[in-house]
Amino acid sequence: MAFLELRGLNKIYGKNHVLQDINISIPEGKLISFLGPSGCGKSTLLRCIAGLETVSDGKIYLDNKDLTDVPIQKRDVGMVFQNYSLFPNLTVFDNIAFGLKIRKEAKEVIARDVNEMLDLVGLTHKKDRFPAFLSGGEQQRVALARALIMKPKVLLLDEPLSALDAQLRKNLQNEIRRIQRQLRITTLFVTHDQSEAMAISDIIYLFNIGKIESSGSPIEIYMSPKTEFAARFIGNYNLLTSEIFSELTGCRLEAAYLAFRPEVVKLSEPEFGDDSYFFSAAVKEVNIHGNFIRYVLLAGKAEFSMDILSDLGDPLLIGETRQFAIRKDCVLTIHES
């Protein structure tokens, strides 16, 4: 049995089947992301593991113990909430010490462990501040330290970075990953941001309407989406029906959809050979994204995007028609819709 095992988990609220037959096996010491759009059930699953929600059906096993009906306090699970939920009447030190005080640890142990945690999250100089006088990033780190000090078997992070600005998010992603690796703690990270999931995870579970759509390492999820939803949600794949793809390239492939990422569309070069599809298309839109430019191209009924690094020559102009190419092995066939 895996370290954390979810078997046939279902959660039903009235007529809403929020989680449908969830089966997941999670190895110890890994960082796993639950990725999906809002309302897909990923946070509910996290809350079920924490014991904050009951499951309608199914079992949760942690370290060979059935957790399904165990009270929250006895689960050995730590959690960081989306809005951190720090106790406003306690200082940073007392927030982090809260669980140890409940466990009636000796004062010296509390002081030693809290100071270690403060050091780990780099907040020693702010230990006497109240939460209202901390920045969002600092509050997030206090919440992380407060959960970690209890040495939980599993750490649950429910969109912990969603309230922060882009630069801070990136810094804290790295910090969470560093701490997770340092402590080798099994971590479940809920996010709706695919780039965040890619950057931080060992394994990603992609959720859609209460079900697991696909799972795998970030590179597997990105390079080989199995379904239309996975292709659309991850990597901004261009999806064309086989008819439209056939009109575009003159080649008919048996599939519900043909998928290719924007960065595999290239301006045609003489050295491209039989391993590529060729077609002409007009530039409909040009969007500058800093290090790359995203073009929206139009060819008959086919509309799709192409990403080109900003330093590769002069940008194309709107209305300009050019010859483009896609390597054949970069086109994926999607059979499920």
């Binding site: 939920s85 406003p88 809260f98 407060r146």
Partner: protein, 280 residues
């Protein structure tokens, strides 16, 4: 300039007119009268009388005791009730709130009559208790200080609940969940986080309940008339006395009552500020 001022604040002018006529002018008048004798000469005698004559000292003591104990008990019961409201279903919560609104308006003479019918010397429950030999209830004296405490607590509870409800909404469910995940039980959460966060609301409600009890007149008058001296009844007697009216002494008693209220409000506000934490 004046036109601009009136145009900007025209909606609030009626409020200030009412406050002026029904609060400021009477208080000013009382304050002046409290320092006058029957010949309209300046004197401190009214206050000397208030703080030396046993009947007024007992009235102040009784009113303070009754207000404090009824506010404290009312607040404690209201607090426990408020904590259990989230456990009700949405439908039951609606019924509860509707009943609460009704109960909070059930005060004064009708409430005194209701208590007389149930707990009076020939009250339904008292007779029943005598019949079945339930001595402690059969010996209950409604027309006494403990009887007044029971009535006061009764009308303090619904008001207390109404005043505490907004404060409860400020206690976030996530704090509770975070505490449980850190192995705290519900009691430990309330002791360490819930009550400290709720304290400003509790203190504010206490001062409102205290003022409510201190100024309560009709219920107390019907139950104890002048058998038990209370400050509001003593004040009223100065204006409606059968033998002679003493508005100057009534004013001094009223100002004393007002000062007690202000002192309690000041203390609770001071404590509220001490325990108010900035929310994240």
């Amino acid at each position: 300039m004046i036109r601009k001022f009136f145009s900007k604040y025209k909606m609030i002018i009626p409020f200030f007119i009412i406050v002026g006529f029904f609060e400021i002018v009477p208080i000013g008048n009382m304050l002046i009268q409290s320092f006058l004798n029957a010949e309209l000469r300046f004197t401190f005698n009214n206050y000397v009388t208030v703080f030396t004559k046993p009947v007024y000292l007992v009235a102040i003591r009784n009113s303070l005791f009754l207000s404090f104990i009824s506010s404290f008990l009312g607040l404690a019961i209201a607090f426990l009730t408020v904590l259990s409201i989230p456990l009700l279903s949405a439908r039951l919560r609606g019924v509860f709130l509707a009943m609460l609104n009704m109960l909070s308006n059930f005060a004064g003479l009708p409430l005194a009559f209701a208590f007389m019918i149930i707990f009076g010397s020939s009250g339904v429950l008292i007779l029943l208790a005598e019949e079945i030999g339930f001595e402690s209830l059969a010996n209950f004296q409604l027309y006494s200080i403990p009887g007044l405490v029971a009535v006061y607590v009764y009308f303090q509870i619904p008001l207390g609940i109404l005043l505490l409800l907004p404060g409860l909404a400020g206690i976030k469910k996530e704090w509770q969940e975070a505490a449980y995940l850190l192995k705290a039980n519900s009691f430990q959460f309330w002791i360490r986080v819930g009550i400290p966060m709720f304290l400003p609301s509790l203190l504010g409600t206490f001062s409102m309940l205290f003022a409510n009890a201190l100024a309560a007149y009709a219920t107390a008058y019907l139950l104890v008339v002048t058998n038990i001296p209370l400050l509001p009844i003593q004040i009223a007697n100065m204006y409606i006395g059968d033998l002679r009216q003493r508005p100057e002494l009534g004013s001094a008693l009223s100002i004393t009552l007002l000062l007690i209220m202000l002192l309690v409000i000041w203390i609770t506000n001071f404590l509220k500020k001490r325990f108010e934490y900035r929310r994240v």
